[in-house]
Symmetry: C2
Subunit: 389 residues, 2 copies
């Protein structure tokens, strides 16, 4: 046995043993983030249907969902299939359905997964009716509502279109409810602005449901959600469920919006120092945009965090140290423009953890989470992560 041990490298047990760059997840912060939103939504009397597009991991998803079988939201059929294989049975696929994707939806439903789709046109509703007949059972759909001009959806006041879609679905498919997403809340700053977004999101969904009900159509579910509005809403009368995704990890964009602090951010990229350009005040690390993503979501906020905030191995930020530039596999770390102070004494081979602008984007660049708890460098687990469609 001793000989075998010397031949194969020992599995990593601490952050110092991992190959870099890689993704680190502080599960203590994740648990606190989930508890905080759950407690909030319990007080508001609505169900949490977490969006699992952020985590894309069965292990992480289990810690976010209220039960092992859901409810859950997904952004791809790949996510739906992976979480269904792990026992999730109540799934909303929250991107407008393309008719070509219906065979995969039907295959999941045939396996006992209650997956519902989202649509905003009569053409999509007609395709769903055909698919329902093919399946011999109604396929449920949400009508997407446009609450803030962000991207897709029917305007809540467009009664003709809402009712036309609802009546088309009644020909063999199922109108499960209405669904909206306050995507413009990402551009809001401060709690007063966020509360206005949250109330606009609630009102759009409730108004659209009222239009449908007044036309004699059942509309059992009224679904709203975005991480900023989920933390800002003070009244969710008429809403039955809230969807939110990025809250599970939080990130620098959410910090800039004001719904979390830097010390809530559960995700970071572990990187190794590979060089210096002392005359420029640069430290070079082996995490570039391939490891961080190219999300520059804080560039338009009050505090531009570059490609991320640089922390020590325990997850504590160095004062004013950010990743100011990135190539594919090189990150350039420097003091924030205008900052006083000196660069920390980081030598070649030293390791840092870099907090991301956008957890969904940074997570997607990696195949696994290396799980720690709080400031300890000990690895608790490795959770695989999937991508693709």
């Amino acid at each position: 046995m001793a000989e075998t041990a010397t031949l194969a490298p020992a599995p990593p047990t601490t952050l110092g043993d991992l190959d870099t760059p890689c993704l680190v997840l502080d599960v203590a912060r994740l648990e606190a983030n989930v508890s905080r939103l759950r407690a909030r939504l319990d007080r508001l009397g609505v169900t949490l249907r977490p969006h699992l597009k952020t985590a894309k991991s069965v292990e992480a998803g289990r810690r976010v969902m209220v039960t092992p079988s859901g409810p859950a939201t997904v952004s791809t059929l790949q996510e739906a299939e992976q979480f269904a294989a792990a026992g999730v049975r109540d799934i909303t696929y929250a991107v407008g359905i393309a008719p070509d994707k219906l065979p995969r939806v039907l295959a999941l439903r045939a396996r006992g997964v209650d997956i519902a789709v989202v649509l905003d046109t009569v053409a999509q509703a007609e395709a769903l009716v055909v698919a329902s007949r093919q399946a011999g059972a109604p396929v449920p759909a949400y009508i997407e509502i446009d609450c803030d001009g962000h991207r897709s959806g029917v305007l809540p006041g467009d009664a003709d279109r809402l009712v036309a879609i609802g009546r088309t679905l009644a020909n063999g498919a199922e109108l499960r409810g209405v669904l909206t997403h306050a995507g413009e809340s990402y551009a809001a700053r401060g709690m007063d602005a966020l509360r206005i977004c949250a109330e606009g999101e609630r009102r759009a969904a409730v108004d659209a449901a009222t239009v449908l009900r007044n036309a004699g159509l059942a509309c059992p579910v009224v679904s709203v959600g975005s991480t900023p509005t989920a933390f800002a809403a003070e009244d969710l009368t008429g809403v039955t469920e809230v969807r939110a995704g990025v809250f599970v990890f939080f990130d620098l964009v959410m910090t800039g919006i004001g719904v979390c602090t830097v010390s809530d951010i559960a995700l970071s990229v572990l990187a190794t120092v590979i060089g210096h350009q002392y005359d420029k005040g640069w430290i070079l690390v082996d995490a570039g945009w391939m490891a961080m993503s190219q999300d520059r979501g804080t560039a338009k906020q009050a505090v531009n965090q570059g490609y991320g905030v640089v922390c020590d191995l325990a997850g504590q930020p160095y004062a004013d140290l950010i990743m100011v530039g990135a190539n594919q596999e090189h990150g350039i770390v420097a003091l924030r423009p205008g900052a006083d102070g000196a660069l920390p004494a980081l030598a070649i081979g030293d390791r840092v953890r870099i907090l991301p602008n956008h957890a969904c984007a940074t997570g997607a660049q990696h195949g696994a989470y290396h799980v720690v708890r709080g400031a300890s460098p000990t690895l608790e687990a490795t959770w695989p992560r999937f991508g693709g469609w």
Copy 2:
């Protein structure tokens, strides 16, 4: 047999059969791009050492390299290991070496792969000497030269540092040569500016090699390269090899720089129309930033292409149609700001191909290339693609 065929879905044979979003590669364009650069470098009398970080695919890599065993450049040890497993034997790992990564380098060398590393400090050279003693054979290294202030490397005039690194390597490791990358050429516009970048890159590398040789150190290889300078250089006297990566696919950033045209771009993302917002002039597709990447490299160029240029299934661009916005799984397609004309009549379920800003970044979001040839929608092959470190 007929029964079996109705039970399992037939494998996709054309672009219309694929699940979207996904990555499409026009191998006719790839072959033309490779031929063009090879012919150019043959005339200049230097070797092509292609950078395989763009393709990250054994099948694509074989069509780019001069021989099945190399030479090649990589940006991660994952690439080195994958290409080594496919028979590549001459590899430059062109990111500054972290001492922690040396065991994986030694493991490759022990398998007969001549992998060389890159460094720019005495500390890294000392670590390489230790590793060479451990391996019982010298490990080769290039000294990285900073030709344009882009990121890492020793200034070519810093003779003390160059010679100190070279002499350290001589204590048991191997000085293979000097290597530089004109990263600032990405910001140059027009052939005159690019020729100046190319000459600066050549001169920095040749000057550094001269410093080392004058100190009595052998410096057999003088390696330069970036796609823009590779297509601009008119004289490569003293240079022995050129590295370039993105030329294999080209992209909209390279089009904006002026080293290719839109019709040279071999990579695109296949997407399906999932909605419209007619009052805003928007077409919604199922390719968002997860499929396109968040690279906005053309935003600073003369022509801002948004998240990409939208083409029909045969790869022909629609006039002035670009992806103006992207969420995780939603793309917003619209006419370029200020453009005349009307939106093309694209219905729900119709498919488009979207040319990327940056082929390296968009490719990295996908697990495979779906290979076509020219305007034909017939699939010739599926080439797996890898990621990770």
